[in-house]
Symmetry: D2
Subunit: 351 residues, 4 copies
């Protein structure tokens, strides 16, 4: 694909004629349609929790959970303002739920993840089971399952919502249904799904109904302890340190079919090598401090900060102290469709 | 999700303040973001081949294959003009290749299908093997395989190109590379891949390199004959007649990971029941005549006509004679992500 | 595991005491139980069809198909006489069916394959479909499907029966049921399953009921032609020539879950390198002549001859003319259980 | 298959003639070869630990671990004496390891499971990692991994060894290799594999090398606690109570490819309904007391007792107190080969 074809009056006239039949010349748009590398619209960005916390808390005064249905501040990628998304395919927002509030029950085709940022003791009820949440917990609401949230503690609770909404809407597959009552009835005690599916066993004869993990809550305490055990073996990925993915115990695949979720430990002083992949990722700092170089930009982060690394951008992490990062992206989608690519750099690479 | 939250001056002021931090209130957009049913932008449309054939042939005079790289007229959905797509996620176009021309070799991350509309004897070369094409053949160029086309016959050839370009671009996974020469060298005789992979056997020890079928050409003669044998058993799906999907012999999955391809036989007088699914589909009439009711619209079709049924629209086919329809959609994507839905109507349903 | 433990009177007395509680000392049998290499009981053997044909035909006079239920001469491995098997896990026999005869309908948990040795025009009916058979055809009767055979031609027909009976009995999974009538009713025309499942397509929405290929007959003419096309590319496996396996179009796995079936072409003068694997294999020569060296033995073969290569024995083929060999073994079982091993030799190896 | 064919002198003579060619008449053995139901050789049996404990301990005086290589008392099914197996396809034995002893390192193609019966603090080292074992732990040594055992505690330790040796030998797939030294070097701290693979996460990019679970030790404390949480939901299988299977976190399949392992809770007073399946099972009572009716026999059991239920025998459990049973069988083999069958009885059924 070399030079653009010349636009002559004859050609223009022809283009106009065929436009009447809803046709257009591919050769006029080919270079922009079949690009040599991804043309990425999202840009790097960071939300410093200390700076935005008061705005989040103010939301509690601005609107009630009941009126808002979900009191969430959307984190909009600066290059995608008005599109309610943090990357092209993913939604991220911060949800606030105050003591005594309930976010009423509904279900939707979109998958949702919650990553607990601040607070202790609020719950998510999914499919008849209540899950009490703590900071760092990774909680799933699988597609088309009833779910409601409530805060029975005495403190506000804030979590990150990650959803595949832009993808679901792009594919014309959005469905939503409100539950007839504010809360769904509970059929199982807390911890049932973790006991049943998350301890190396499965109920004999269990058949999965979907492609999502039946474990609703991956507690931070457990995952964190596992990382601490693993680090003794001192096998570090040059780009990612010690990085694990949350999995669906039924098949070992990602915990959710559309969003990959990860936790990684970067020891103090670790000098990560540059890396890029076609899935843009959203990171949350759970512990530690550091910076991430993305192309020519530097994103500084500390506890509870959220930052985004765009698709196919070179980046490298530079932890100032032992750091733990949670992240999510649409990598499972890209892998299932055989579209995912990654590239590892060396110390002379750009990011 | 009942009434929209009221917009008060206090709220407006708050929204403006948080906008500075790239945040926005979800509750202002929630109803449009998490919809009860898909909000589909594409509309039904039909391209009558007789009406557009002269425009296609005229393209041969307007530009050469060499200058155009690919001389293709994009079929643009009337509701998505300027976006180079026939549904939200899929590209379709008509490619013309004149006797003696070559469309030079390149490769891209996008998957492409060819469905031969008119002509005989042009070829596609894929991965070192040439496939000579006839009307009704379904030909694949898997992602990231070198491919070039040529016409060594004495007649123009026209085929339908179907690509997953909008999806590939949405996911930021586009890559393209030109081959250093006009044509790739040939390493295998024609028919090798069909013999090797398409006859109920596989080379012992063969390991697949991707998720795409290694059979490049599914000849129409063979598939058509299979339909004719099957129809003797007279098992008709009430909505689809006798419908088969092209498969990857390595795993029985769709022939391509991102686009499902189908062929169906509708006998004369068959009164299909209404049907809808979340994948918008592009149909090509190969044989016969008839009409398809889509919502309140009626699309008339005959040989070589192309029509599109939008996602989640009720439709029903009404063949006036024994009819054979080829179709493709993004259903494999939706199924892999557990997002696909379908619904079958009864005779009183709308379409 | 070095020396055998000494047998002392004290130990003998102890062994006797614990024997009363159905216990025995492992250390007395360990070396024979956990062996360094497989201890194989089956031996190489060949059945020359010309030499045994008259005995087969004589069976037609000795007993009727009706009285015998199945008029089959078991090919017993010379080292496993009385055990009705050709290798430790597999049964092979030659079935004769005379013009006008019917082998009545029944079904069993064991899987059966037929490989047609001599004759033309007899049929197998499986699951409501009749399959007319020709020499070289590979025909399947999946587990627990009704099947009967009949000969409507004017010539006797002989085929090789291969069954997993020893394995099925070892695992305590044998079931058998006679059909209430001599023949099952037919529900589909001949060729239906091949059209429906064996031509690169699958009926949309088809769900498999088992793990066996729904294609009952893999015609020799088709497979043979595919081999002839493939050989043009001249990619020869140093041990196997051009070897393909029959596959289940639903998943690309072996055509049957317990028996792998293969066809291979060895061009005249091909000097195969030695090879061994843990699955003992039964070969049938379809075309050509040659010899196979198995350890220190030489098995000469020509058309319709049957020979067996024991598990883990070095062997190499030496075709005297273009040769085609059909073969089957329990390799799928071993692979599914992660037990299969193979080894490739060089020209100095033993066989 | 009705009456046996008559044996006439002519037929006898014929049988003798064809015997010379290693052929035999199928119709003489058909009824015993293709049986209507499994013909099961193994019988029900129970080993009461109190009764045999002194014999086990006496083994420590009879032979050293070093001389025995593995000091194991084989539990031989009373109907299969001399065949070193507890069911047709499985081996079971009780291994004793005294304080200070080491059972030296080797590897074999057979898979082994350990279920700890008595003692605390001995270890198994597998693939460079040491696992310290407690009563009720289920420990795996995957095929072809180096493993050695040692007892660094001050008490004798006894565990149940379960191996697929009869199956591995039947299939001619036995391989064994001694490690050049008594113990393999350790490369990972204890708990590494459980942290890495058994906590709902997997190392990003991890590729499995086999089909066996990478979790070597499934601690009893954890599984037992999960059962206790699950029982609150009070969903009881009418035949099995609350039964879970140990799984491979990489794919959700059984923890081992050839042996299924299970733990089940039967509450006091639970009156199980009769059940049978084609996999003969070995049970170990971990907690509680009760009896199991197998056909007309009654097996009484208490802590540490081991009993076997033959293939396709009706049985029902009758716990006298809250009971926990561990069990294993070849069910994964049968399922992978599509041979497994089960049947559920009602209260009037025999067992």
């Amino acid at each position: 694909m070399e030079a653009e074809p010349e636009r002559t009056p004859e050609r223009e006239a022809y283009y106009e004629r065929i436009a009447a039949d809803s046709m257009a010349p591919l050769w006029e748009v080919l270079r922009g349609l079949v690009t040599k590398e991804p043309v990425v619209r999202e840009v790097p960005a960071v939300w410093h929790y200390q700076a935005i916390r008061s705005a989040i808390m103010e939301a509690g005064a601005v609107i009630s959970a009941a009126e808002a249905e979900r009191r969430v501040l959307v984190l909009e990628n600066p290059a995608l303002r008005g599109l309610s998304r943090i990357t092209m395919s993913l939604f991220a927002g911060l949800q606030l739920i105050l003591p005594g509030e309930v976010a009423r029950s509904h279900r939707h085709a979109a998958s949702a993840l919650r990553f607990i940022i601040e607070g202790e003791g609020a719950y998510t009820a999914v499919d008849g089971e209540k899950t009490v949440m703590s900071e760092g917990d990774f909680v799933i609401t699988p597609p088309w399952t009833w779910h409601d949230h409530g805060n029975e503690s005495s403190e506000p609770m804030v979590w990150l919502d990650g959803l595949d909404l832009p993808l679901v809407n792009f594919l014309n597959t959005s469905f939503m249904e409100p539950y007839p009552e504010e809360r769904q009835p509970l059929a199982r005690p807390p911890g049932d799904s973790l006991a049943r599916f998350g301890q190396g066993i499965l109920p004999d004869g269990y058949k999965s109904k979907g492609k999502c993990s039946p474990v609703f809550n991956y507690p931070y305490a457990r995952t964190r302890e596992a990382l601490e055990t693993m680090r003794k073996t001192a096998e570090w990925d040059p780009c990612h340190g010690l990085k694990v993915r949350y999995v669906n115990p039924l098949d070992g695949d990602y915990a959710m079919p559309t969003m990959g979720t990860f936790l990684q430990l970067l020891p103090a002083g670790f000098a990560a090598l540059p890396y890029r992949s076609t899935d843009g990722a959203i990171f949350v700092c759970v512990e530690g401090r550091g910076r991430t170089h993305v192309g020519d930009e530097v994103l500084e982060w500390g506890p509870r900060d959220i930052f985004v690394v765009p698709s196919w951008s070179w980046y490298r992490h530079e932890p100032a102290a032992d750091a733990v990062l949670f992240s999510f992206s649409d990598r499972p989608v890209q892998e299932k469709l055989a579209l995912w690519r990654e590239q590892r750099g060396n110390s002379s690479a750009r990011a």
